[in-house]
Amino acid sequence: MKAGYIGAGRRYGTFRRNWGLYVLLLPAVVLTLLFAYKPMYGVLIAFKDYSPALGIGGSPWAGLKYFEKFFNSYQFSTTIKNTVIISLYSLITFPIPILLALMVNQMRANRFRRFFQTVSYMPHFISTVVMVGLMLILLSPSTGLVGNAYKLFGAEAPDLMGSPGLFSSIYVWSDVWQHVGWDSIIYIAALSTVDPSLYEAATVDGAGRWHKIRYIDIPMLIPTAVTLLILRVGGLLGVGFEKVYLMQNDLNITSSEILSTYVYKIGLLSSQYSFSSAISLFNTVINFILLILVNQISKKFSENSLW
């Protein structure tokens, strides 16, 4: 960079001198080629009538048939709607880790604060399977904590996990419960880089606690928050498969069928490879466009962007 334009000869020179660096890169480059880029070529089957006997190259072209099939299917609006609802709902909870970080930052650095932080990260280490198992146990109307709490007041407990109307709430708030502490670390880290003399100067100027939060802490967090927000919006249709799939049951399926679970069922459970690939390609493309769009908007209105 510093030297400006590097001639072809010199570039070859650095290439030869640094061959060792390419050796270090080789495993990651090869694995990415085989398991990330080769499947991208395989996406072609979304435009073909894939048959395993003919392979990806040999299968006949189908044009946009499978995309049309998806757009015209009754699952199209359901899966998109469910995915977007869950996504937007989690987006609303985006500021919660920020609030937690601001609060932790107000606590005196002592044993209680360390204990608080350790405990708040812990649920992050629970696996998705155990987390959903935990929810089934605790929310069970017959034997769970919630069921027992209702019984304590002599009321009949509702079947929370089987309720389509509550699915998104349970999904989102259990996520908040599990990850809020962990997600706040990045903001706490950002706050720890504030120059203490700023606070001292503010105190001299007569600023109280709230003023310091408002005019020092929050501005400090905005770049990090915007970066994470862009990524979140870019993943609007990318609600993860793992937790939703485990939370699904026959009772809540009308609001729990999302794009990724549908892709799995069509693709692997009923072996409609081309159809499933078309749905997931549609999903990826929308996410990609959104990411670029949000990044552009952010670039225009603030100095924060991903690239």
Partner: protein
């Protein structure tokens, strides 16, 4: 410092400030304690329920301490061999997968951190693009099958070992903590890139190796998706997939028939749900407090990424 500052303020202001500060303090710590209770109680409940008589749990008699103390739930675990096969598999996948993950991501991150790497921009883009665009489930599945990796040990530890986010974090670490002069000095002494990386960079990078190692290990310990998609043979199943059968699809309870024997079986299956959560979660939670220092460091590095 405090006194010096207060003297600068009008006296009334100082008193007012002090009072509202105390109130804020009470709100903050009150909220913190409430938060701790909400976070810890469900976990505490699982622990006490795992040591309690299942009918006491079902009837809502267990709230703060175990009732009808018993270890039957844990004894029941030993009757299910597949749990222990799963445990063994998970340990193998975690240890080997983490070793491979470190061996792949750390060297790549170091190479990308070097400003004199020709093609650095292109190579970074080559990796980052895969974060936002992927072939999707079926094309990836077909790729794995084409390589004859379906239903093998290898599929659990190799194909998805490149983690671009981890590479970015490690790259930032190398850029900020390994001085460039060090390489120049080593070069003058006739040290090549590979020897420099192994003998000088790696010993200076224990923190980032610990961070990535723990992230990768936790990921392997907790994931079930790849096993669900790529494994058929039950002898290869990791613990999480077996947990799914026990906790969520209730496969342990089916086909038990009726009568008193079935009642007892159902009771034990219910008890086992608590004990199995404990034995599956305790190992990874135990690792955490020891590694906390490194975890925080890792997030810090991630936070300053440019």
């Amino acid at each position: 410092m405090e006194t010096a500052n207060t003297t600068l303020r009008p006296v009334t202001g100082a008193i007012k400030q002090g009072r509202s500060d105390k109130a804020t303090e009470v709100v903050i710590y009150g909220f913190a304690i409430l938060f701790l209770i909400v976070l810890m109680y469900p976990l505490y409940f699982i622990v006490i329920a795992s040591f309690s008589d299942p009918s006491a749990v079902a009837n809502g008699k267990v709230w703060f301490i175990p009732r009808g103390f018993t270890l039957d739930g844990y004894k029941e675990l030993f009757k299910h061999q597949n749990i222990w096969i799963g445990y063994r598999n998970t340990i193998l996948y975690t240890v080997i997968g983490t070793a491979i993950g470190l061996a792949v991501n750390i060297p790549a991150a170091y190479a990308l951190s070097r400003k004199d790497l020709a093609g650095r921009k292109f190579l970074s883009l080559y990796f980052i693009f895969t974060m936002f665009f992927s072939g999707g489930l079926i094309p990836t599945f077909l790729t794995i099958r084409d390589f004859h990796m379906y239903n093998t040990f290898l599929v659990m530890v190799l194909p998805f070992s490149v983690v671009v986010y981890d590479i970015i974090v490690a790259r930032t670490f190398f850029q900020t903590s390994i001085p460039e002069d060090l390489w120049e000095a080593a070069q003058i002494d006739g040290c090549g890139n590979l020897r420099y990386f192994v003998q000088i960079v790696l010993p200076l990078s224990k923190a980032i190796i610990a961070v990535l190692g723990l992230w990768i290990a936790v990921g392997y310990w907790n994931s079930y998706f790849n096993a669900l998609i790529y494994l058929k043979n039950p002898d290869l199943h990791p613990l999480q997939l077996i947990l799914r059968n026990i906790l969520i699809t209730n496969q342990m309870q089916s086909g038990m028939g009726t009568g008193e024997a079935a009642q007892i079986a159902l009771r034990l299956a219910n008890m086992m749900r608590y004990s199995v959560i404990i034995i599956a979660t305790v190992p990874i939670m135990c690792v955490y407090p020891f590694a906390q220092k490194y975890f925080n460091q890792g997030v810090m590095i991630g936070a300053v990424k440019s």
